[in-house]
Every structure is written in C-alpha cells, then in structure tokens.
C-alpha cells in the first residue's frame, strides 16, 4: 500500500493554498465564496467520475503508489482529493490571471496618462 500519490496530492493542495495565501487570491479573498466554488466543483467533477465509472469507461489502476482504498467500486479515496486539487489549481490560475490582466491594464493606463 503506497501513500505517495495521496501525499503528493496533499502537498499540491498545500502549495496552492500557499499561493492563495501569499497573493490573497481565493480562500484568502472571500473564504465563503471559495468554499462554495470548491464544493460545487467537487460535486460536479465527482458526478462526472461516477457517470464514467457507471458507463465502464474509467478503470482504477493497480499502481503501487496508491493506497488501494476505495470509496466505491473503481473510485479510490485519492480521487476526491485530486478533484479538490484540480479545482484549487483552476481557481488559483484564474484569479492569478485576472490579477495579472488588471495589473497590465493599470500600467497601460498610467503610461497613457504620462504621454498626454
């Protein structure tokens, strides 16, 4: 039984939260909204997984780095953790991109004012 995958995912989540904390992007900007987005994202993606499992598309591997513990047939306990990571990664990228775009347009506006 391996915990490498689970530990990597938790580490990934920690890193996302550190970015979030450092730049006040998601949970550190509006914790309630961030919690709702994370929960909605998790439920949506989990429903997708379950549909895929039901249709016989997704099959769990026998990788040695996974714990091998299942929440449901073909659904390892790592899956929801991965999905949470995916949602956090998505939102950190999006909010980060917004921050960058805002900064760029602000700088352009300043430059224009200087040129006038």
């Amino acid at each position: 039984m391996g915990v490498l995958y689970l530990v990597s995912l938790l580490l990934g989540i920690t890193c996302m939260l550190l970015l979030d904390h450092r730049f006040r992007l998601f949970f550190w900007r509006d914790a309630k909204a961030a919690a709702i987005v994370t929960a909605v994202g998790l439920v949506f993606l989990l429903a997708w997984d379950l549909a895929g499992i039901r249709l016989g598309i997704f099959l769990r591997g026998e990788g040695t780095i996974a714990t091998g513990l299942l929440l449901a047939p073909e659904l390892p306990i790592e899956e929801p953790v991965f999905l949470i990571f995916l949602v956090l990664c998505t939102m950190v990228l999006y909010t980060g991109a917004r921050r960058l775009l805002d900064r760029i347009s602000l700088r352009l506006a300043e430059r224009e004012r200087e040129n006038v």
Binding site: A33, L45, L59, M91, L93, Y94
Partner: protein, 399 residues
C-alpha cells in the same frame, strides 16, 4: 466514443452555467477580462494536464477501457481527459465572479483574521496533548506508520483543537470578556462577528476527517469517534454546557484527552487487556484532576458571569484537594499495570508537588493558582517526555 459523449455532455452543462454566471456576475467591462483570464488559465491547465495526466497514467493510477475512447492521445493522456480542466475553468470562475460580485471589499474584511484567530483560540501550545495520545496509542498497537495514523494524528493535532476551543470560545464569549487571563497563552477573545464563521470553520475542518477516520475503522472506532465528537461539542455548546455542570465538566474535559487515545486503539484494533484499561483509567483521572485544578483560578470570573464549574460549586479548597487526590489515585493505579507501566506512577509526583501548596487555598485567593496552572502547561511537556521514554522502553521490551 462513449467517453467523448460523456465529456461533451458535462462540458455543455459547464459552458451553459459559465456563460450564465458570467452574464449575471460581471460588471460593465469585466466580462472581457473574465474570459481572457479563463483562456490563460486553461492554457496553463492544458499543459499541466498533458504532463501530469501522462505521469498518473504511466504510474498506473487509472486507465481507460480502450473501446470507449477515441484513441487520440497527447503524451499518454487521452484527448477526452482535457475535458475535465476545460469544464472546470469554463464554469467555476464564473461562479466565483458571481458569488463575489458587489460585496467585494466588505465580505473579505468581515472574515479577516478568522484563521489566525481560530489558530490562536485553539491554543497551539496544547495541540500536542490530543495528537500525542492518539498517535502513541495507535503506533504502539500497529507498530507501523500508515495513512490512518498520519491522517488521525493531523486531525487530533489541529482540526480537533480548532473545534474544541473554537466552539468553546464562541459560547464562552460572555465570561471571557470578564477574564483578563484569556487572550494570551491560554486562549483568545473572539469577536462576535467571527462567531458564526468560527462554528462553520470547525464543522468544515472536522467533518471530512471524522468521515475518513470512520471509514478506516469499524464499529468500535465509530463509537469512540462519536463519543469524542460529542464531548467536544457538549462541553460548551449552548443548551448542553457540560462545562457548567459540576463533575460532568471534569469528566467531559478528561474525555477530550483520553478519547483520542481510545480512537487510536479502536482504529488499530487493539486487544482490550486489564493493563490497558487501568492505563486509560489512570489517564482519565489525571485529566479530571487537571481540569478541576484549572477551574479553581476561574472561580471569581466564572461566578461573576454566573457560570458554574466543579470549583465554583464545591469551592476552591476542596477542588484543589480533590485534584491532588485524583493524581494520587492515578499514580497508584499505574503501579498495577504490567512493566514498564509502574514507572509512570512517578509522573503524578510533580503535579502533586506543583498544586499541593494550594492545599488551603480560599475562593478569594483562588486566582493565585494561575501561577501553578502556567507551570502546568510546561509540566505536561515534561510528562510527555517521560511517557515517551516509557513507551520506547515498552517497545524495546516487546519487540
């Protein structure tokens, strides 16, 4: 092809939701930026997916029924797998923008300081007191570090204390206001507007862990987790307020520290021996004594706030004597456990020496016992050290 249809169905749902959210959530001129940021985020996610999906498939974490996929792959990742990040990035940022519209500044400042406050309120200096009993009980039984041990230890280190002290501070607000001792090493005053968020934080950080730990164990673990969680809530929540019911307050408080050990034993599937029961009983008495003695210093503020405790009811002097007696019994009980358990009897002595000077304390001088209480926090570290040495001895004797 099945996977493609499934993916398209979910992407369509996500796209509809994303467009609706963006239309209702964006202020004038914001939509353009929103979709640009969505595009940038997806570009990054696509690269990450190509790399990490390939790694995950390469590590045999999961695979696909070949008859259901198109067969077009980027690296090892089937093209359909990119539907996950696509759907996520189309819908979720829109939801976020909609949720955070208007109240951009007010709500964030509203919750400002919740996490630091919660951490301070959870008395980090005492975190080890609940994590250690769990970890020690489980490790000494299974003799290996597995994921349940790691998850459980983390749970009893932080989320459990967040809930215990967070709930406590919310419902203790009244008496804490009148108690200058709170706010430093032993806890913090919690602003009223943070009360509801604090209870939410306690629920969000605890329930997932409880479910995972319950999932990892059988009926014994379920029962002990239920008792443990009930004790955490019942101690301070309005309506139950076990902390204001003499004797029940000390019993519940002690349960806070002994139940993690019982959960650890249940998850590890330990054999119930008489030695083990005596050990737990001694630990329980030690916890009761610690709580009872701690309540003495608060006699005055508690009475002023109309709050009852074992000490306000039976008085400071009798409470101190009861605590010393309980430590004595706890120490004596350890003498009845198998070797090297009797060594632990020594641990009772510093507690008795620390508190015996208050043998004749009165309710008006009760606040002075805070001096002993402060030493007590560090005494616990010393006891933990001795207990660890005894555990190591026991480990080497039985291996």
């Amino acid at each position: 092809m099945t996977y493609l249809w499934l993916a398209l169905a979910f992407i369509a749902a996500a796209a509809v939701a994303g467009v609706l959210f963006a239309r209702h959530g964006a202020w004038r001129g914001e939509a353009g930026k929103h979709w640009k940021a969505v595009g940038l985020a997806f570009a990054a996610l696509a690269v990450l997916t190509a790399v990490f999906d390939s790694v995950m498939i390469g590590m045999e974490l999961f695979h696909y029924d070949a008859s259901h996929i198109l067969g077009v792959k980027i690296g090892l990742a089937p093209i359909e797998d990119f539907a996950y990040p696509l759907a996520g990035v189309v819908a979720l940022p829109g939801l976020w923008m909609w949720l955070t519209r208007k109240r951009k500044d007010s709500s964030s400042s509203n919750l400002k300081g919740l996490v630091p406050q919660a951490l301070l309120a959870s008395r980090p200096v005492s975190w080890i007191n609940t994590a250690y009993p769990f970890a020690a009980a489980m490790l000494l039984t299974t003799r290996e570090v597995d994921w349940v041990l790691i998850v459980g230890t983390f749970y009893f280190l932080i989320p459990y204390n967040l809930a215990m002290y967070g709930i406590n501070d919310v419902f203790d607000y009244e008496s804490d206001l009148k108690n200058p001792r709170k706010g430093g090493i032993e806890g913090a005053l919690l602003q009223p507007h943070l009360h509801r968020p604090m209870l939410w934080l306690a629920a969000i950080t605890n329930i997932p862990f409880l479910l995972v730990l319950a999932f990892a164990g059988g009926p014994a673990a379920w029962l002990s987790l239920a008792v443990s969680s009930f004790a955490v809530v019942a101690y301070s929540v309005a309506g139950l307020r076990f902390k204001e019911r003499p004797v029940l307050d000390s019993l519940t408080s002690s349960t806070h520290f002994v139940s993690p050990a019982v959960v650890g034993l249940a998850l590890a599937g330990a054999n119930v021996t008489s030695g083990l029961v005596i050990l737990l009983a001694a630990f329980f008495l030690w916890g009761m004594a610690a709580h009872a003695f701690g309540a003495v210093q608060d006699i005055e503020p508690d009475r002023q706030a109309g709050i009852g405790s074992i000490a306000t009811v039976i008085g400071g002097r009798r409470t101190v004597r009861l605590a010393v007696g309980l430590w004595l019994v706890a120490g004596a009980a350890m003498l009845a456990t198998p070797w090297p358990g009797p060594l632990a009897a020594v641990i009772a002595i510093p507690y008795i020496v620390n508190c015996a000077p208050y043998w004749n304390v009165t309710d008006t001088t009760a606040a002075r016992t805070n001096v002993a209480w402060r030493r007590f926090i560090w005494l616990n570290y010393g006891s933990g050290f001795l207990v660890t040495l005894i555990f190591i001895l026991q480990w080497s004797l039985t291996s």
